[in-house]
Amino acid sequence: MADAQAEGAGRPRPMSPHLSIYSPLISMVMSIVHRITGVALFFGTIILAWWLAAAAWGPDAYSTFMGVADSLVGRGVLFGYTWALIHHMLGGLRHLLWDTGRGFELRTVDRLAWGSLAISVSLTLVLWAVVIGGMGGAS
């Protein structure tokens, strides 16, 4: 790109300022987080495929998988995975709203960004509290 510019114009053109120069705004941070959670969910499908394939393979493979998934580290990863899924979903719904041409007022953009973060974190915590509470009661 720089080569092409130098070749065409004879000298490097001024570049527009990039990420490092702006102070972070919530809308910008949520945009980046949407992309990061998307990439994380992409690689997280390896866990989903492992889960299903282990069950198809047989009881031994399944208990190996569940031993990892239900460990402290495994639960941490799955907690992150469920949060990423919920957060990415809320971010996606925000984008679908914007696709209709609505919700572009600065105040609305900020509220949507903070709202999706607050809902994703609290919903994930509630869901896991229910799971851990339910297991404690059963055992």
Binding site: F42, T45, A49, A56, L93
Partner: protein
């Protein structure tokens, strides 16, 4: 030195790849479908976490659940392939590396869908 044409002259008239609109629509359609499917996946993960093999076999024996998993797997792998394609096109500028990454993206999505999809069929059909 060997080429006196400007960068703009080299690309003028070539036009776009003419696939952008299809990509945009497919991204949105799969996104909408992923809302109920993603919520169902979370419910499935949380309901089966810590439960044993027989519990999961019985769970996947329910046709509604196995069909839901198939929908999730194919919609999700399509959606994530579209998303990762955009990420690669944004950040990988070397042409050779970009082609390799896009190829890897497609292969990854298809392998995940094949492994997960076949496993669901095996569980659902009682193999």
């Amino acid at each position: 030195m060997s080429d006196l044409r400007t960068p703009r002259a080299k690309v003028r008239g070539l036009g776009a790849a003419r696939e952008g609109t299809g990509h945009f629509i497919a991204q949105r359609v799969t996104a909408i479908a992923m809302v109920p499917l993603g919520l169902a996946l979370i419910a499935a993960i949380l309901s089966q976490l810590g439960a044993g093999y027989l519990s999961f076999r019985a769970f996947m024996g329910n046709p509604l659940i196995s069909v839901g998993f198939l929908l999730l797997i194919f919609t999700g792998s399509y959606h994530m392939r579209l998303g990762m394609q955009v990420v690669i096109e944004d950040y990988v500028h070397s042409e050779g590396l970009k082609v390799l990454a896009l190829l890897g993206n497609t292969f990854f999505a298809i392998v995940i869908a094949a492994v997960a999809g076949f496993s669901v069929l095996k569980l659902g059909l009682g193999g």
